[in-house]
C-alpha cells in the first residue's frame, strides 16, 4: 500500500504496481525521497528499480542501529539513475535478534563490499552473499562495533 506521502512520486507508484505489498512507508524530506520496503521484497524491488526504472548505480549500502526500538536495524540503500540524475533512498527495517536480509549482489555486484561492511560492523547477515566475511575488523574479532550497545573506547578483557 502506497502511503499518502509518496502518492505523487512516480517511482513509488511504479514500485507499487510492480508489487503492491512491498512498500511499507516513505517520505519526502529536504528534497530527498525515501521508500521503505518490506525486507522480504527488497531484492525483487531492487531488480525492478535497476532494470525497469534505470537506477543503474548503487551508491552505498549502510545501516542505522535504532537500539532499543524494534525493528532494531534500518538497512539503507542509496540508488542513483545516471541518465535522469536522480537519487533515491530505500530502507528496510530488520529485527534485532539474528538480523538477516536478502543480498542485492545479484542486482549490483558493487553491493558486495558494502554488505560485508554492514555485516562486519552491525552483524546483519545477507542471504546469498557470495563472500560474507569481515572486511574492516580482523577475521577473529568478536562483536559488531557500530552497534549502539558496543562501547566507543575500552580494552578487551
Amino acid at each position: 500500500m502506497i502511503p499518502d506521502s509518496l502518492r505523487e512520486y512516480p517511482i513509488a507508484a511504479a514500485v507499487d504496481r510492480f508489487d503492491s505489498e512491498s512498500i511499507t512507508g516513505g517520505k519526502h524530506d529536504r528534497g530527498e525521497w525515501t521508500i521503505e520496503i518490506a525486507p522480504a521484497k527488497i531484492v525483487s524491488v531492487c531488480g525492478f528499480l535497476k532494470y525497469d526504472e534505470k537506477f543503474v548505480r548503487l551508491s552505498s549500502v549502510t545501516a542505522v542501529d535504532r537500539f532499543p526500538a524494534e525493528p532494531r536495524f534500518e538497512v539503507v540503500y542509496h540508488l542513483c539513475s545516471v541518465e535522469r540524475k536522480q537519487w533515491l533512498r530505500l530502507k528496510c527495517r530488520v529485527l534485532g535478534s539474528e538480523p538477516e536480509v536478502g543480498s542485492v549482489t545479484s542486482v549490483w555486484r558493487g553491493a558486495n563490499w558494502y554488505e560485508r561492511e554492514v555485516f562486519d560492523l552491525f552483524g546483519i547477515r545477507f542471504r546469498n552473499h557470495p563472500d560474507l566475511r569481515r572486511i574492516m575488523m580482523p577475521e577473529d574479532w568478536q562483536g559488531h562495533p557500530l552497534r549502539k550497545d558496543y562501547p566507543v573506547t575500552g580494552s578487551r578483557v
Binding site: 548503487l58 549502510t62 542509496h78 537519487w87 574492516m136
Partner: protein, 398 residues
Amino acid sequence: MVDAPQEQPSGRRRMVLNMGPQHPSTHGVLRLLIELDGEIVTHCQPDIGYLHTGIEKECEVKTYQQAVTLTDRVDYLAPLSNNLCYCLAVEKLLGLEIPPQAQWMRVMLTELTRLNSHLVWLGTHAIDIGAMSVFLYCFREREEILRIFEMFSGQRMMTSYFRIGGLALEPPRGWEKRVKAFVDIFPSRVDEYENLLTANQIWIGRTKGVGFISVEDMLDLGITGPMLRAAGLKVDARKDHPYTSYEKFDFEVATRTENDVYARYQVRIEEMRQSTRIIKQALEGMPSGPWKADAPHVVLPDREKMKTQMEALIYHFKIVTEGFRVPEGEVYQVIESPRGELAYYVVSDGTTHPYRVHMRTPSFGNLQATPKIVEGILIADVIASLGSMDFVLGDTDR
C-alpha cells in the same frame, strides 16, 4: 584465503604473492593477494581494513561542530572536500542559508584541494611507473598550496577550515595576492609536467591500453569519478547537482573515450587546468560580505562581541559546552571529491550529537573493482592500473 598453489598440467605452479600492506606502490596500507602464473595475474584479492580507525563511531560521540575535525582525517589528501560535504549535509538538516562570500571561498579552497590531491596523485603515479623527477616537481607546487592553507587556517593538511554556518576564521589579509601568484604560475607548471610525460614514449608504452574495464562493469561495481569520465561518461556532481554556488562558475568537465590509464592521466591533467580556471574566477568575482551565516544558535559569535555583549557570551557558552540541536531527519549529501563521488549520510535524532554519520567514500567503491581490472594482465601493469584508480586508504577504511 586464496587456494594453495596447484600443480598445472604443464608442470608449472602458480605463485601467491602478497603485495602489501607495507608497499610503496599501494598508496597506503592495502594488501593484495595476487596469484601469478609467470608474470600474469590469475587471481587477485584485496584485503583492506588496516587503516580502520572507527571514525563513523567517533562521530556519534562528538557534537556536530566537533565532528568536522574528524572528517579531515577520512581522505587526508583532500581534507577540505570532506569538510565541505559534512558541513553541507548538516546545513541542509538545519536549513541554514550560507552567505555568498563563504560559498565562493568554499569553492575556491575546494578547488585548491582538488589541485593538491591531483598533484600528489600525479607525483606518486609517475614515481611508481618510474618517472621520478615528476614527483619532486609536483610536490614543489603542492608546497605552495599547503602554505596557502596554512595562511587561511593555521594548518597545512587537516585544516577543518569549513564549519557549519560558513568558515572557521576570517580570510587573512593578503590572501588575494598569494592565491593570484599561485594561479598565475600554475598553468605553466602543468605544461611542464605534460612536457615530461604526455609525449614520452616510455610513459605511453606503460600506460596506453592498460587497465581497461568496461563502462557497464564500472557502473555495476561502484566506480565513480575520473575513471568514468575517461570512458566517455560525463558524470560530475559539480554539474549534475550543483552545490555551494558551483552553478555560477564556468568550467568544462574533462572526458576522454579510450578508457585506459593514459586517458585517466589526461582527464586529471585537464581537471587541474579547469580547477585553475575556477580559482581564477573565484578570485576575480569574490563577493564581499559576512563569512558566516546569521544564525546565533549555531554559529559562534565574533570574539569582540563575545567579550562585550551578554547574549553573545551566553550563545558562545551554550554552543561550545552543549552544542546546538539539529532537527530530526536524514540527508545524503553528494559532492565531487578529487577521487570520485563522495557522500555523507547524516542521520539526526534531534539532539546535539549526530545519531549516525556514514561516509560513502569513492576509494571504497573504486577498490572493489580491483580484481576485475587486474586479473589477466601483467604484474607490471597492475602497478599502473592501481595508480590510475587514485585511491587513498584513509578514504577506504575510515
